[in-house]
Symmetry: C2
Subunit: 205 residues, 2 copies
Amino acid sequence: MKIQLTDKIIKRLTLYHCILFDYIEKNIEFISSPQIAKLLNIDDSQVRKDIKLLNNTGKCKVGYEVKCLKKSIEKTLGFEKPKNAFIIGAGNLGMALAKYTNFQDYGLNIMALFDNDKRKVDVIVNFKKVFDVEKLPDLAKKLNVEIAILTVPRSYAQETADFLIKSNIKYIWNFTPTVLKVPNDVIVWNENLIGNFLHFTSSHN
Amino acid sequence: MKIQLTDKIIKRLTLYHCILFDYIEKNIEFISSPQIAKLLNIDDSQVRKDIKLLNNTGKCKVGYEVKCLKKSIEKTLGFEKPKNAFIIGAGNLGMALAKYTNFQDYGLNIMALFDNDKRKVDVIVNFKKVFDVEKLPDLAKKLNVEIAILTVPRSYAQETADFLIKSNIKYIWNFTPTVLKVPNDVIVWNENLIGNFLHFTSSHN
DNA sequence: ATTTTATTGTGATTTATTTCCCTATTTGAT
DNA sequence: ATCAAATAGGGAAATAAATCACAATAAAAT
């Protein structure tokens, strides 16, 4: 039976990973499920069950080996096999994401940016070049990129998505406040910053 | 009985809102639950149940009134009563968020940015000023701000959070890849960009 | 006027997720 | 050597979320 990692599980695993990173910096060798649970305000059996999915085992009275557990998470979440992506829209958000060095640690490789504004073309951001959007189909094929991070203004979102799909992009990480219409074989993830914000500011009052 | 809006419901409501915005642009007056459901790949009864929570009713064979439904969502999610926030860390991400004009439409008001780098102090971004972080406790009190958007480098995350908590900040929207230790009366939302990314690129293979 | 069709609203069912609780194990203390 | 304490592992129960199924209704078609 193949285990399906749901978004909830993945979210927790990345948080465990943050904690483990911290423990390694502090040279702590072992970590227990109640310790993790307390930091995240969740149940400790939840933590153990998540860790079980990684095929990682712990030691009673001691806990889990920090380095080993961190490696397991990285392996399970695929940090070691890099995924190549383009950023479409070299505006504020696109540029900021291009500069965000953390992505590389998690196996996300930004290969290039694209924009239709000639003034932005050829600019270099964090060793990544901005290309004219016309070059995209060709480069996507050459570099074998099928992930696009969409950071164009909302009014261009759908037409840009259509263009990406024609260029054989299969995954669209959508930062625009738009619901895109796409064929069945294209996966969209709507990044919903404001939704998260609304939830956390309204959840405790 | 008070209805608790969970993060899933809020996420869906914001997506419905995007769709409704689009319909208004196109001058379409009515929308049905199967139409919304199809765009989002979810069940239509789910949509109806969400809309029920807004105390909004539809008409058989016709659907829901677009403008009215959009207003209901805005009211329920509190778009009309602005929430004031500070951005802590005027780096790439902090600056990009400050420039992100969409936030205002959703009731999130960025009042100012803070940084400890003297070269960044007094810079103006999108009509918002960068202040020395020392000024924060005072300004938080004066402007009645209790929400902080944390975009500092990971190595400063915990100490900055401690400082924010001392300054009476109650909500921390954490963009750093760190699990923060905070007292019980402080709410943290870990923005997990990479977790979302990992989920959507791995969910269909 | 009657039938067909599309849709809402909602109870029942199913599925997914989390929490509870107990047993076995390991370590450290007595 | 024995006991106490902390923890992993995992089945059972509880809770939450999504889907299914269908009656009621309203518009459009015949």
